[in-house]
Subunit: 240 residues, 2 copies
């Protein structure tokens, strides 16, 4: 399955993306950062669906995880490294960082965004294996239950109350949106895609309502769902 | 008392800065953001010591809080606004943001840094009035105890255990420092001063050890204490 993200571009780009039972519904938060970054750069990439247990498929590229970007003969691993690669390799296309200061600060926002993913985990984690092939569901359950020391369903049992703490953790984003439309300023950039990737991950795999409709973060997410001709909004989900 | 931050500069600059019993020991985290920003720009500013109850002194400039920057006839209020004013007014001097992407992202880091100040508050709050003149100490205690609904000493009573949670909250900063010396990249910029201002505030008013010496954040703070010929390190504290 080939996804055309945007205009014509470097036709050699291929992106390994995490999927479940629906190869047209990628859901990794890290892959979504890169999907959005590619669209921002106006680059076309062929998507290569990848499942949790397909370790052998990406081992030759030196990785156990996705995203993995192939640019011709070259493999680039890890979302942050890929974003920097795209910025450096395609400097004449719209900037992902808005300058070197932005690139440096985005490194911290990337870590902050990883924390957002961590905060979402207990809210959606047991929904994820429902969307996976049996062998991937077993792998996911085994590795994540080992990491957290509890059953996925136990972790998620308190999500209706835990969501309040998660929402509170978004305050730095929420407060920023009081005076600008995006973390990147008047228009989005990689700082936005970092955090949006987490929301798109949750959106694709779980029906749980992470945000109230009155939240400025909700409106920000809507704007990013609409970006690039509604690319993220059009992406299929595994539920309802 | 006149502080010479750096080389010669716009000789008309004056900065109202919060002090306690020692007019040469400014301690506001927000004023320290601007002290560092002025030094970064190589600007000289005359400091005007200001105490909590000196509301009348800055009322004509349209503010109840410091920092207030005077640039000739013009008054600029609020640290974020002042930083942007300096960047726009002195564009030929070293950039505080490293481009427009950095400026936009720094807005979020500014909110994150305000959260760091909030996290430090329970760790140092009862030390602050010890450094204030009687009328300012009374004002500080009254307003802060009203805000938190508890005695300052009660808020601070658990600081030896609470500090662990505070240190954990610095993870996005700590992780960023794994691959770059400063939030601004190889050299510091306003993103660093935002967070450093909080540490300098704590350092000037309290002997409490916020960081372990093994923490990469400790080493980062050391580098900023050394910046601008050790400006922040040389600043007097109210203890030890």
């Amino acid at each position: 399955m080939t996804a055309r993200f945007a205009h014509t571009g470097a036709m050699t780009l291929k992106l390994y993306e995490l999927v479940g039972t629906d190869t047209a519904a990628p859901f990794s938060p890290f892959c979504w950062r890169i999907r959005m970054a590619l669209a921002h750069k106006g680059l076309v990439a062929e998507t290569i669906p990848w499942c949790f247990t397909d370790k052998a498929a990406i081992a030759p590229h030196g990785s156990e995880k996705v995203p993995v970007l192939l640019d011709g003969e070259r493999a680039v691993v890890d979302s942050w490294t890929i974003a920097n690669y795209l910025e450096d390799t395609y400097p004449d296309r719209p900037s992902l960082f808005g300058g070197e200061g932005g690139r440096a600060m985005a490194r911290m926002l990337n870590w902050w965004g990883d924390g957002v993913i961590g905060g979402m985990f207990p809210l959606i984690i047991a929904d994820i294996p429902l969307n996976l092939k049996p062998e991937d569901a077993a792998y996911f359950r085994k590795t994540r239950e080992a990491r957290f020391g509890r059953k996925l369903e136990e972790i998620m049992a308190t999500r209706d109350s835990a969501v309040e703490g998660f929402r509170k953790s978004l305050d730095p984003l929420r407060l920023t949106l009081k005076t600008q439309a995006f973390l990147g300023g008047a228009t989005p950039n990689y700082a936005d895609y970092i955090v949006f990737g987490a929301f798109q991950w949750a959106r694709v795999v779980s029906p749980f309502k992470l945000l109230s409709k009155e939240d400025p973060v909700y409106a920000w997410r809507e704007r990013l769902l609409d970006a690039f001709d509604g690319m993220a909004r059009k992406s299929r989900s595994y539920h309802g």
